[in-house]
Amino acid sequence: MTYRLAPIDKDSFAAEREDDFTVIGSVVQRSDALGHVTGRTEFFEDVAPPGMLHLKMHRSARHHARIRGVDLTAALEVPGVTRILTHADIPNNLYTPLKLIGVGPDDEPILAVDKVRYLGEPICAVVAESEAAALEGVARIRVDYEDLPAVFDVEEALAEGAPLVNEYHGRNFFTYEGHHCRRIRFGDVEKAFAQADHIFEWRYESAPIEQAPTETTGCVVVPQADGRLRIHSDTQACFFTLDNTALILQTPFNKLRIVGGTVGGGFGGKVDVVVEPVACVAAMTTGRPVKFVYGRYEEMQVSSPRAAERIYIKDAVMGDGRIIGRKVTLYVDSGAYARHTPYGTTKAAAHLPGPYSIPNVWADCHCVFTNRTPSSAMRGFGVTIGDFALESQMDRIARALSMDPLRLRLLNAYRDGDLKAHRKVAEGTALVEVIQKAAEMSGHELPEAYRRMSSTTREGL
């Protein structure tokens, strides 16, 4: 039985279509569907090798503190606790996941050394015969903290005198090729503001968003007779995880094998390499299989969310709705460590000023360190919150000018051949047609002049 809820639109760009699709337009059964409906799909936690140990993490109870001492005595006395790992057990304790594509510096310890920078940061890993014994061991570890002032707000973090979050960066922001942020400079926005009929400036802000997969982050590591480690993981990025784990273990890549690809929901939340390295060390030091899986509380508290953002947009707008200048100051809250957020901030800059042709654009996009949970990937990270701000801005401008918000967008939408703020020529644009189609489907009347607009011509402008 096959059906689709919406037909394929064959009218738009008809001249460019060949319609020789062999898959698009037909219904193809998922290759994993039979496993899912019979319960035979193997997720990482369905693997239960004999003799498996359980790893649980003792985490920071402070947002920002120096560690004066760690007392493992009572934890080691818990029956069933076999081993407690600290930073000294990790071959290469300092890393950053994007070093694989040349992003640095290494700024995050696998296990905390002398300082914690966010609530829930891993300090010691308890390895035990049962999950209950591991949890009991975790509860009995005593950490002596010396509290440090913490900062939770991106603009406060950049202000003079703010507490320094991450010493490896030296400042509370990520440095892009010597610059304090990702920048766009195109035309002259100040001149545009001087010429504009209206200036609209608003502020937008988002909270961190947890991906909340139904399956929590975790892995089972099984030592092999040949000295290799077999890692059953729910990572979204098998090879990325393998390479980063090998660097952290200081082991050749071919000593690790990842069995993965079956992920119980990820949405970007399972691309940081946060469970495999320490589970591998536990398996290597004990010679036994080890499982490290987050509880639901850990998933919510420490798995890296979509970054919080704060965005200021100031627009120079003419009376007819044309936007002639756009100035954006955007802050992305990276939390205590970089993870994937320097990349996300670059994506945010790349996405500005939205899909509109604006002749004067100025943007500063800051990747800021605070004492919050490190943020990272989630579905279109770096782009979606910017879109929320940009499109809210468009609606508010339309309202202020008593204009139809669709017409405002059609008037400003980029067309093929336009030079974008990044000095790239727009090609394959389709915003005009998408808006026209949306208007048609929702019964939103557009005047003839707007219905005749096209992405490939300049008609109506």
Binding site: M1, T2, Y3, R4, L5, A6, P7, Q29, R30, D32, A33, L34, G35, H36, V37, T38, G39, R40, T41, E42, F43, E45, D46, A48, A212, P213, T214, E215, T216, T262, V263, G264, G265, G266, F267, G295, R296, M441
Partner: protein, 178 residues
């Protein structure tokens, strides 16, 4: 307290095992009996991924101390159409794309089985109520509800859900309110 021998009838087979007091039904199914279709999602009864049927009623197995259901009949996804063709619910889930990552699927199918056993002709509201304790994070609830209603139709001997005409591009809100 010492461990005790607990008996259950699991998917029609009598099973015995030794369990410490407080061992959850989920742990017994997954760790002692190797039945891993039911998943641990939250371990606090709020996500429904561990749903199995105990004496035909859907329960969250992560909250059930196994000694409290000694002697009960337990049905898991492994016991649905075991060794044979897919049953109506399973095939309707496949055909209606009601599974994506698959982690919630076992729980969803088990609540659907319990619903259709008790009510062969449920309304959309009945289906929504039945799955209200089960969290799905990727497929979306709509294909799951469509699949369960389709399964009911198949189980009543009616033909599978007819192919909607392509012009039936109803909005999400309209579909939910139907």
């Amino acid at each position: 307290m010492s461990s005790q021998i607990v008996s259950l009838v699991v998917n029609g087979e009598p099973r015995e095992f030794i369990a410490k007091p407080g061992t959850t039904l989920l742990a017994v199914l997954r760790d002692s009996l190797g039945l891993t279709a039911a998943k641990r999602g939250c371990a606090q009864g709020s996500c429904g991924t561990c749903t199995v049927l105990v004496d035909d009623r859907p329960v969250t197995a992560c909250l059930i101390a196994v000694e409290t259901v000694s002697g009960a009949s337990v049905r898991t996804l492994e016991g649905v159409a075991a060794g044979g063709d897919l049953d109506e619910v399973q095939s309707a889930f496949v055909d209606n794309f009601a599974t994506q990552c698959g982690f919630c699927t076992a729980g969803m199918i088990m609540v659907a089985e319990a619903l259709l056993d008790r009510d062969p002709d449920p309304s959309q509201e009945d289906v929504a109520e039945a799955i209200s304790g089960n969290v799905c994070r990727c497929t979306g609830y709509q294909p799951i509800m469509i699949a369960i209603l389709d399964a009911a139709r198949r189980r009543r001997g009616e033909s599978p859900k007819p192919v909607p005409a392509s012009e039936e591009t109803v909005s999400r809100e309209e579909k939910v309110s139907r």
